[in-house]
C-alpha cells in the first residue's frame, strides 16, 4: 500500500513545485509579449501652450463684412486675428486688429469683384482701412492678376492702393509698374443726397502709375 501512496505523494510534491512555476511563467508572458505600451503616447493631447492662449486673447477665423459708400460689398476674413498691442495702435481707445492669412473680397454692384489675399495685415477701424503686407495677391474679375509687396484697402469706399512696385498679368499682357490703385471714379453728377451716393458709382478704374511697362505679344497667325 505504501508504494502506491508514495507515488501519489511524490507526484503531489512535484506538482507543488511545477504548477506555481508554470503559473509564474504564464504570468510573465503577460508583460513579455504584450505590445509595448508607451504611457506618454497613450492619449493624444494638443501641443498648444494653454498659458499662452489664456494670456493673449485672439479670435480664430474672424469675419468682417461691410458695404462701402458706393455700394461695394466688402468681406474680410482671416485665419487668426489678435487685437493690436498698445504700441501698434495709433489710437489706444479703439485698437485695431492684426491678423494673419487674410482674404478680402470687394464685390461691386455691377458684378465686378476683386479678391485680395495676404499673409498678414492690420485692420484699423479709425481710418476704416486694412493694411496688408508680406506679398499681396490681387485678382480682379476681368482677368488681372496683380502681385504687390503691400497694399492698403479702404473699407468705407472703393480704394485699393499698392505700396511699392507691382507686376501684373491681364488681358493686355504683362505689366510692370511703380504702383497700382483700384478705385471707383467719383460719379460725374455730384451726389445730391445720401441715397444718390450709393446709386451711381463711377466706372471701376484700375490705374497703374509710377512708370508703366507693358509687354503684349500678339496672338500667333493662327487666330
Amino acid at each position: 500500500m505504501a508504494a502506491r501512496d508514495n507515488v501519489h505523494s511524490r507526484l503531489v510534491a512535484w506538482l507543488k513545485i511545477l504548477l506555481p512555476l508554470a503559473a509564474l511563467g504564464m504570468l510573465s508572458t503577460l508583460f513579455l509579449f504584450s505590445h509595448s505600451i508607451d504611457p506618454t503616447k497613450a492619449i493624444r493631447y494638443s501641443k498648444v501652450d494653454v498659458k499662452k492662449l489664456a494670456r493673449e486673447p485672439q479670435v480664430t477665423a474672424p469675419d468682417y463684412a461691410g458695404v462701402t459708400q458706393d455700394g461695394t460689398a466688402v468681406t474680410v476674413s482671416a485665419a487668426v486675428a489678435k487685437p493690436m498691442t498698445k504700441a501698434e495702435t495709433p489710437d489706444p481707445a479703439r485698437p485695431g486688429a492684426s491678423a494673419s492669412g487674410i482674404r478680402a473680397r470687394f464685390e461691386r454692384k455691377d458684378g465686378a469683384t476683386t479678391t485680395v489675399e495676404a499673409p498678414q495685415g492690420q485692420l484699423d477701424p479709425n481710418r476704416q482701412e486694412i493694411k496688408l503686407g508680406g506679398g499681396v495677391r490681387i485678382d480682379t474679375s476681368d482677368g488681372y492678376r496683380i502681385r504687390a509687396r503691400a497694399l492698403t484697402g479702404a473699407l468705407d469706399r472703393t480704394h485699393l492702393q499698392s505700396a511699392g512696385a507691382v507686376t501684373a498679368t491681364g488681358p493686355l499682357g504683362r505689366i510692370e509698374a511703380g504702383g497700382m490703385v483700384i478705385s471707383a471714379e467719383a460719379p460725374p453728377a455730384p451726389a445730391k443726397s445720401a441715397a444718390d451716393v450709393g446709386a451711381a458709382p463711377g466706372p471701376y478704374v484700375l490705374v497703374f502709375n509710377g512708370g508703366v511697362k507693358l509687354i503684349y505679344t500678339p496672338p500667333g497667325k493662327g487666330n
Binding site: 482677368g143 471701376y204 484700375l206 490705374v207 502709375n209 507693358l214 505679344t217 496672338p219
Partner: protein, 160 residues
Amino acid sequence: AIAQGTQVPLGGFKTDPSAPIQVTADKLQVNQADGTALFSGNVIVGQGKMRLSADKVHVTYAKPVDGQKGKIQTLEATGGVTLVTSPTEAAQAKTAVYTLQSGTVVMTGSVLLTQGQNVLSGQKLVVNLPSGMGTMEGRVTTTLQPNAAPKAPPSKAKTP
C-alpha cells in the same frame, strides 16, 4: 476718286506685325467697364525697329473670351506723335492710329515725314508696316535738298 497719294518707300523698314509690342508710359488707366486702356505721360510704343512716341495712347482691346488672352485691336496715339522707323527717318503728326490686324499706321494732322535730308509734308500718311511702304495724301509738298541727295546723280537742271 482714287486717293492720289505719293508712294514713299520707307527705307529698309519692315516690322513683323506679330512681334511683341512693348509700351512704356508714366501711367496706365484701365477702364474695366468698356475694356479700354489709356497710357498717358510720354508714351513710347515699340515693336521691332518701329518706335511710336506720343503724349497719350488709347488702347482698345477685345475682351478675352473664356480665358483666352485679350487681343489689342487699335492703338490711338494723340498729342505730338512721332513715328521713328529708322535712324534717318521719322514722321510727325498730330494723331496716329495703329490697327494691329492690318498692320497699318494712319497718321493725320499736318504730317511731316523726314527722310535723311528730304522733307515731305501732307495731311495724311498711311504707313503699311509689314511692307514698309508709306502713302502720303492731301496737299503733299516735298522739299528736296539737291546737293545732299547722295544717290541721285548731279542732274543738270537745278531744281529751285
